[in-house]
Symmetry: C2
Subunit: 355 residues, 2 copies
């Protein structure tokens, strides 16, 4: 498989659905990848099993508040700077690029970086969705270090972090990204393909492309079409009647109120997010929570809506997909369950809740 100008659009649509509202608006990343493919040709997508054990892979993407990413645009060379910094550090070439999360801009920008580097893109990521913090990547669950992390910005400044643990990495990188203006590009958890095999969530790039294809196919009920690609739980449809957002400390946090429409008339949903959607509540009770993937879909097109793109008056359907299984283990829930985000309730799978 390869990513060309046609399925790039599908990837962009699909990974925004799987991002759970986060990962940043894909528009800039898609334009950047489109330009890169136009210039240097399609990007091969390879399975991690096709990589040599010692091949160095480069998990990369943008870090910071999605509200900032849509205005503070990468200059296009960040991927090269990150790659060269790692190559100098490890003394050998990077062999494959990998989106560290499957979401929004972070699903497509690595395509541009792979294209310019002449490298393949791995059909895998380290979240199987998007999450806001740096210890919320699967290698963390296996005791692997996110260091050295390389941060760079559109001014071509570089910062290399070697921290004691991944919590310190999150703290130091987050504050650095905030100092840089709220978003930056980065490489994290550098490792060999051999090391990446256990933590990697595989097939996420190709699944996102299939999801995007389904959205583009549309049909009478586009959300039903989506369910052919991934099991979707429909939580309710309605209109956005209130949206609160604030950007600080390198995150965007906020909430939205959705008033039920159609069959859901009379219901009121509350969505809360930190970059990504965290919980949907009705009458104070959770309908779905992290790590399940909560996404707002445009009622008519089934396009995913990123948290910074939620607007008053949007007609949307709130859906949820089951979390990648690694996140529902005790270790996974400790890292990304509701309590990791400050909620005082436990995770119950959205499938079980709505069975």
């Amino acid at each position: 498989m390869q990513i060309d100008l046609d399925n790039l659009a599908s990837l962009s649509l699909g990974c925004t659905v799987f991002a759970g509202g986060g990962g940043g608006d894909p528009r800039i990343g898609e334009l950047s990848a489109r330009e890169a493919i136009r210039r240097v040709g399609p990007v091969p997508v390879v399975s991690i099993d096709d990589c040599g054990d010692d091949d160095l892979v480069l998990p990369c993407g943008m870090i910071g508040a999605p509200t900032v990413m849509i205005e503070k645009i990468p200059n296009g060379a960040e991927g090269r700077v990150i790659r060269e910094t790692y190559e100098r550090h490890f003394g050998r070439p990077v062999k494959a690029v990998m989106p560290f999360e499957m979401g929004g801009i972070n699903g497509v920008l690595p395509v541009a970086w792979a294209a310019y580097a002449g490298l393949p893109l791995l059909d895998a990521d380290f979240m199987g969705r998007a999450f806001p913090e740096l210890q919320m990547l699967t290698p963390h669950l296996f005791g692997m270090s996110g260091s050295p992390a390389v941060i760079t910005d559109e001014r071509m400044q570089t910062m290399i972090f070697n921290t004691r643990d991944n919590i310190w990495l999150e703290k130091l990188v987050r504050n650095c990204v905030a100092s840089l203006g709220g978003s930056a590009c980065g490489g994290l958890y550098p490792m060999t393909a051999g090391q990446a095999r256990r933590p990697a969530i595989t097939g996420t790039v190709s699944t996102a492309i299939r999801m995007g294809d389904a959205i583009r196919r549309g049909g009478e009920d586009p959300i039903a079409t989506i369910s052919e690609v991934a099991p979707v739980t429909r939580l309710g449809q309605g209109k956005v009647v209130d949206i609160q957002r604030r950007t600080s400390g390198g995150f965007v946090r906020g909430s939205a109120i959705v008033e039920g429409l159609g069959a859901d008339k009379g219901r009121l949903f509350r969505l809360e997010f930190q970059n990504e959607n965290l919980v949907v509540l009705e009458d104070g009770e959770p309908l779905a929570t992290v790590p399940d993937i909560i996404t707002l879909l445009d009622l008519h097109t089934a396009h995913g809506i990123v948290t910074e793109g939620i607007r008053y008056g949007q007609r949307i359907e709130i859906v949820a997909f089951p979390a990648p299984p690694i996140w529902t283990t005790p270790e996974g829930l400790a890292a990304v369950g509701p309590r990791a985000f400050g909620y005082d309730f436990d995770y119950v799978s959205v499938v079980e809740r709505h069975a």
Copy 2:
């Protein structure tokens, strides 16, 4: 010349006087250097002219709020971590250690680092005193870059910064140091001895030792003894009657009120500081300002008092020394004159003011 257990005490006393209240309390640094000299022997002090043009020198010290440095103690290995990081980066060994500022802990901690590394200490620094910010080093005036800067802490975390300019370096390193708890150790403006010759302020280590010797000699009027080593302007003596200090964003800022005693009875002095003493005012008019070196001396011992050591009731004399000449050039004043610290008046040399 070499630094041994005897003149280490003089260096510590002397560089605190020249620090202008900043650079951190030398106690921890002196204990650390004492232990190092005890273990591995005295540290040779060499002139920059005795170094080869291509010899890599390591300007280093602590960065952050002096109020924090007295409690957040280095573990002793930071110098090695910084040196090894630079040696990996440049691919060759460091040949000499250099205090990046002549002040407080930063005048003596590099002695410990030089001892453990088996390297000489340069008889020079990049300030000729202490200043609070990273663009306030002489190489900045010559258009030289402070990058790559290496920051490390007592947890042995390392951060490497490559920034577009030295203002960005100050911003990013400062926020990182604040995230690390308010102080950290660092290397800045790495360069060869050949490159360091123009910006270096030379002879500052040996002058500080002579100053410390004079303080230890004391005499009837210890401050008069000091004037044999460096031209001192006596601004007034009195008692500290008020002290305000707050530590935030990696700095300590504040002010002290000194009520005149003896010949200065009836006078009231206001001292303002950001890590280092910035201005002394009387009736709203400056008596002395940066970049001249303003120091509070204990009235009886002539020991320099660091800004975090100012206490209610201390009997002190406020003195000033002329700034190293490079700081009174237009470029120097733009970087460290009163206006660089937000004051709305120009620099007038303390010698001229009190002629």
